[in-house]
Point group: C2
Chain length 467, copies 2
């Protein structure tokens, strides 16, 4: 590289060989003669080849184009070494030499990235030798994904958003307990959410860290309830009773807020707004899924109340759970079709079925049959994200279908690796590989927190010494 | 300003009220909602309205477009305050809001420039009350021009080049002695030139300061000789005998090198290359001017040799001067036409006549008649720069034509002020106001060292208490 002469108008793309998050330094040398005018460079960073191959001017998505990582840099002094002051998430770097002068050309003497993460690779326990190569690779890619998202908070994606979302945090924390064990970072995130809530007391869907930590005004029904489940998971992993006790009132408040949304029947009220996440799908109705996440959250709250010996609250929660489950079975379960129905249009979706199973609204036998039936029901609204796929795998495991769960991991996350993933992607629909909920796959995140869960499954369920 | 809401696609231009050189800070606030994506701004700095009014994409000059001062800046954290890390020379700042997000707009809470200079305005002696308003203004604009060019060296222009050119240094130093009296900066520049010469021992035409001081490979016959004259001017202003003694060998070497270019007749050899500057004009032949600058330089060298009591060198220089003058009169002077001729085509130019007068090749009476004749000779190659105009005014003064010199200052530099100059321009041809030797007036420098000499004339010749 160092000998190649770059002239005005030239363009080169460097492949750093793996996904990186950090600060880039370029060492630049003028050749032929003195640099009698500034050097003007365009740098385009891409997690994926499409980002360095397509023209950002064609971008028409609805998320801000400012997430696309390109810079125009003017360098006043050559030879010189510059370190760009923004952090980038990338594997590819396209360099365009916009301007030199009639007197000089350029050589790139050195380019490197000073990576940043709060995860230590030293903390990772190697998988037993019995684990096959494919799972080792799935584990490795998961770990790299999580590593690159672990900064001063668990970011959802180091390229786009870079924020702490509680839906992502919950899954990242689960993987973290099995890998980096950086539990103080989970604690920090829980306190950030607890300490910066919305005006009504709700835990917000996401947080900004800078200039001072503050909560975004996005409220999502399921995400607020995940504060409870993330707190319980954290306690199970750490036995940090202090944090459990300090944060329990916030968790309990989420229960109370969530229950207020129930209608007279005891069902979560549906509406046209973006009140609940579940998955990215334009047609997906959220009512049944929201009801299921409520029940799931109530059950985690019950675990906490029991652990803390809060008998009155235990009793209260048991009642609330029973009512929510009964309402779900009475009003959402369609005995004839054998599916949970969501919304006025009585929509059948994978999200609704999976969450009802995770919430244990039906017993294992019914659940197993339900999933089997679902696979043959092509009208069901499908899954679009690794986030939803995680919950499906979790549901399979809950039904005792280990082999099917493992196959799913190999097919789905393994499919991303076959398609070139160094880190797991925010979005992956094998049927529509350029799927984006944002109007352009250029803006998709290709190292995304919620997609790193194969390590959790592999290390928790599939890496026993017995193989 | 702070209340105006800026949306994606909006553009505003700020007028800072005067020419500034320094570092710009912007304080930015998101409004409507959170800044959930980076802000992407385009900033265009202009010394002149044309720079913020015309599209740089249309630029087709031969100097690098990288001198045009525009930046694309991505701001990750809002609200936030950013200071751009490059120095700009500007009065106008155009801000284009390239990207916000669907959730937020922008307010500009504060913008300021932290100016830099090595000149102290406190050092300036006010002009006597007898000096008229127009001269006070000419003096003020000159002083601002010099101030903005005075950094760690005397730069030629704080926008473009930003280098130490010896042709500019010579004039800046003359103005400096009458104004800021920052004589150590002149000394530093002399030592930089002396300490970083070309391989043949020539003082280079210009220097770069960074990353380490080094000389450019441009050699100009007249500019090398100006080392001698600048050293003598410095000594006259400071009586710093140490510097005179240390740098005399370098000055003497310039004499020896310059004399080697003489042909058998004792005339500077002409060629097609850019071997001598004199002025920006495509047709200008440099031979006669070069010969005149040689004689001018030899005479300054003689002053130094005399001051240092170097009798042998005094004698040698007197001989060299006599020969060069005789050659000029014999081979370049056309008695019939009454002009000095330059080059094979026997070209008549203002530059040749003015420099022959400054070199005192003809006596005052002849010089005065020569200038008078020149004004009526429309075929003569005209002057294009304030640099050349300075020498013309100097020639008028040398001929005792004080009033005409003053009129010229009022008309020419006063014309720039009438045309909107806050600082004097690199190029000004009242007959062709968009004149540029670089193919575009966008790239012209509008605060330029060699144009700041009205203060020198006013304070030295026209600000006596007698008015």
């Amino acid at each position: 590289m160092s000998e190649q002469v770059l002239r005005k108008g030239d363009e080169i793309t460097l492949d750093f060989g793996q996904h990186l998050v950090g600060y880039v330094t370029l060492s630049l040398l003028n050749v032929r003669s003195n640099a009698d005018a500034p050097l003007r460079l365009k740098l385009t960073f891409g997690e994926m080849p499409c980002e360095v191959g397509e023209d950002f001017a064609t971008y028409e998505g609805w998320l801000s184009r400012s997430w696309l990582q390109d810079e125009i840099v003017n360098v006043d002094v050559l030879p010189g070494t510059i370190t760009l002051n923004r952090r980038y998430a990338f594997r590819y770097l396209k360099l365009e030499i916009l301007e030199t002068s009639i007197r000089y050309d350029l050589q790139l003497k050195e380019v490197f990235c000073t990576t940043v993460t709060s995860a230590s690779m030293d903390a990772i326990t190697p998988l037993p030798a019995s684990v096959d190569e494919e799972l080792v690779q799935l584990d490795q890619v998961s770990i790299h994904t999580l590593r690159d998202c672990m900064q001063t908070v668990f970011e959802d994606g180091p390229k786009r958003d870079r924020r702490l979302w509680i839906g992502d945090l919950r899954l990242q924390a689960l993987v973290n307990y099995e890998t980096f064990g950086c539990n103080d970072l989970v604690k920090r995130c829980l306190y950030l959410f607890a300490g910066s809530r919305l005006e009504g007391g709700q835990v917000g869907a996401c947080l900004y860290e800078k200039p001072e930590p503050y909560v975004d005004d996005i409220y999502l029904y399921d995400y607020s309830l995940f504060f409870i489940t993330t707190l319980w998971d954290y306690y199970e992993a750490t036995k940090d009773r202090d944090t459990l006790e300090v944060l329990w009132p916030v968790a309990k408040e989420q229960v109370d807020i969530a229950l207020k949304r129930l209608d007279k029947r005891g069902i979560v009220q549906d509406d046209e707004t973006w009140y609940c996440f579940l998955d990215w799908h334009e047609q997906l109705n959220k009512q049944a899924g929201a009801q299921a996440v409520l029940i799931y959250g109530l059950k985690k709250a019950l675990c906490i109340a029991r652990e803390m010996g809060l008998s009155e609250q235990v009793e209260q929660l048991q009642t609330q759970i029973r009512r929510a489950e009964e309402a779900a079975l009475q009003f959402l379960w369609d005995e004839e079709q054998g599916f949970f129905m969501s919304g006025e249009q009585r929509q059948v979706s994978w999200a609704s079925q999976v969450w009802m199973i995770l919430a244990e609204v039906v017993d294992v036998e019914v659940a197993r049959a339900l999933l089997q039936r679902l696979k043959g029901y092509y009208e069901a609204i499908p899954m679009n994200t690794p986030y939803m796929m995680h919950h499906y795998v979790e549901a399979l495991l809950q039904c005792g279908q280990q082999q099917e769960a493992l196959d799913q991991i190999r097919t789905y996350w393994g499919g991303m690796i076959k398609d070139g993933a160094d880190t797991f992607w925010e979005l992956y629909n094998p049927e529509d590989k350029t799927y984006s909920p944002y109007g352009s796959n250029l803006i998709n995140s290709y190292c995304h927190a919620w997609s790193c869960t194969p390590s959790y499954f592999i290390r928790r369920y599939f890496a026993g010494e017995e193989g």
